[in-house]
């Protein structure tokens, strides 16, 4: 099953409430996905810094003194904010590749959730309300965000099997459905040198989009070609630095509802997820068409 929510703000006044609105939408989708949950939140890019969000099974040891060790190795100034099992490292955007390299050397067990100018990804196993509370999602502000509640079908219930999946700097993907050609596509992508960590079908979808974009496709083109190359059921919600995009497979049996007002564009697997948004009674509410790529950007 799985539940997806997304919120793209047009009205800057709502930005401080993004985390609160998004976590409420996420919790409403609990019965579509009680196994695990995750969110990607795009914060305000005020101080022109870059961010890497990392996850550890052993946060108290792994995060302690991490910024000093990175600095000692690379000379790069890094600040660290820890939130439960996750930590956000901030540095100059240009230093992101060097810090990633250093992390591989200093803490090879750390998992990189996301990297970019504004994106932060948090995901864990557990009920959506517990995951949202653990990372204090409701206190976060930002311009847009997407969230996912997972009912696992294609691979184990683990942190790395939870969504969103990062597909590149400031890009991520959440998925409702199941891909049926993920094994053959994984083999093909691995032969091309693409790193795929888990046996999860959505990670293959994310890796596919990343690969296509490395080959020169825009995100829109990559989504268009996914309609040709991915077999199975999918409603995808893709986050970028500027906004988000939606695409459904041609059969479109995985549900999707969108709502738009002057203040926001919202996505929900069901209308239930949208009912408490401001002005929803007057919003334009519709279902995205199958095999059609939609995009909203700031």
């Amino acid at each position: 099953m799985c539940g997806i929510v997304g919120l793209f703000l047009k009205d800057k006044k709502l930005e401080p409430k993004l985390g609160m609105m998004l976590s409420e939408m996420l919790v409403t989708m609990t019965d579509r996905g009680p196994d695990s949950a995750g969110i990607a939140i795009y914060g305000n890019d005020e101080n022109n810094t870059g961010k890497i969000t990392v996850q550890s099974d052993n946060p108290s040891e792994d995060f302690k003194g991490l910024e000093k060790e990175i600095n000692a190795l690379t000379g790069i100034k890094v600040s660290i904010r820890t939130k439960s099992t996750h930590a956000v490292l901030e540095m100059e955007t240009a230093s992101i590749p060097a810090v990633r390299k250093a992390l591989k050397q200093i803490r090879p067990s750390l998992r990189i959730m996301s990297a970019g100018d504004t994106i932060e990804i948090y995901k864990e196993v557990g009920l959506p309300k517990d995951v949202a509370a653990r990372f204090d999602v409701s206190s976060m502000s930002g311009t847009h965000g997407i969230g996912h509640t997972r009912m696992a079908t294609e691979s184990a219930v683990t942190t790395m099997g939870a969504h969103p999946f990062s597909t590149g700097n400031d890009q991520c993907l959440v998925h409702n459905g199941s891909l049926s050609n993920h094994n053959s596509l994984r083999r093909k992508l691995r032969r091309e040198g693409v790193h795929i960590e888990t046996e999860n079908d959505t990670e293959v979808g994310a890796a596919y989009l990343t690969y296509k974009m490395q080959q020169g496709s825009s995100l829109g083109e990559a989504l268009e070609s996914s309609l040709e190359d991915l077999d199975g059921f999918f409603t995808f919600l893709v986050g970028t630095k500027d906004g988000f995009g939606v695409v459904r497979d041609p059969i479109a049996c995985k549900p999707a509802v969108m709502a738009e007002t002057d203040q926001y564009v919202a996505f929900g697997s069901e209308y239930r997820a949208l009912v408490n948004l401001p002005g929803i009674e007057e919003a334009r509410v519709w279902e995205p068409e199958p095999a059609t790529v939609y995009f909203w950007t700031h």
């Binding site: 479109a252 049996c253 549900p255 069901e270 239930r272 997820a273 949208l274 509410v285 279902e287």
Partner: protein, 227 residues
């Protein structure tokens, strides 16, 4: 009129209260507030009562309905009026996928658009959609009438049996074994009655009729190698 606040009183309470209504009930008019997209609102009713739902509903609203008249003032989620037996369900807004699926009888009216698979496997229900319908509608439809005042999506009436499909606008594509049929006086008569009952001012003469070409009814040995 009885008023029921779904948010305060809960779904089980609502449905068991409505199920308790019998043919002779004197509580014939119900208003349900705060539906907020909840699932399975007013399913399995079997009494000549009127239920007005103030807002939008989620999955399976009015499923298995017998006798009752159900009005939804907003839009409706997937599987609305699924397997309806009799009665009338009116959706003021849009309906999501597989509205009226497998319905045996009664009338489903959608005043907005219906999504994909509208009337899939319908078995005698009448469905009138004021707007458009999505792809794979009336797939394997067996009997009853599907009336579409707007346009139909891809693969209309794929593998259908004896249901009548009436479309006023364009049909993006017909499904396997579905073809346009002659519109005879008896069809105009059926349409006229259904449109009147569904509160539509569309003219029966503006519609085209589609139905089964009946080529899939019997196994053709020439196709044996196709499997």
């Amino acid at each position: 009129m009885q008023t029921f606040d779904l948010e305060a009183q809960g779904l089980r309470e609502l449905n068991s209260t409505l199920h308790a209504q019998v043919d002779e009930t004197n509580q014939t008019s119900w208003e349900i507030t705060n539906p907020k997209g909840s699932h399975a609102i007013a399913v399995g009713l079997d009494a000549p009562i009127e239920v007005n739902i103030k807002g939008s509903t989620g999955y399976y609203c009015g499923g298995m309905n017998k006798q009752a008249t159900i009005n939804v003032s907003g839009s409706a989620g997937p599987g609305t009026a699924e397997n309806m037996m009799s009665g009338k369900i009116v959706i003021d807004g849009d309906a999501s996928q597989y509205a009226g699926a497998t319905g045996h009888g009664g009338l489903l009216v959608i005043k907005g658009n219906a999504s994909s698979r509208c009337g899939i496997s319908m078995k005698g229900i009448n469905i009138v959609v004021h707007g458009n319908i999505g792809h794979m509608s009336a797939f394997m439809a067996q009997s009853g009438n599907l009336v579409v005042c707007g346009d139909a999506g891809d693969a209309l009436g794929d593998s259908c049996y004896e249901a009548r499909l009436f479309v006023r606008g364009s049909v993006k594509s017909l499904g396997a074994d579905c073809e346009e049929k002659e519109m005879r006086p008896e069809h105009i008569k059926i349409l006229k009655e259904l449109l009147a009952e569904a509160d539509s001012d569309a003219k029966p003469e503006e519609f085209k009729r589609y139905g089964s070409a009946r080529n899939l009814y019997n196994f053709d040995v020439d196709n044996a190698t196709a499997y």
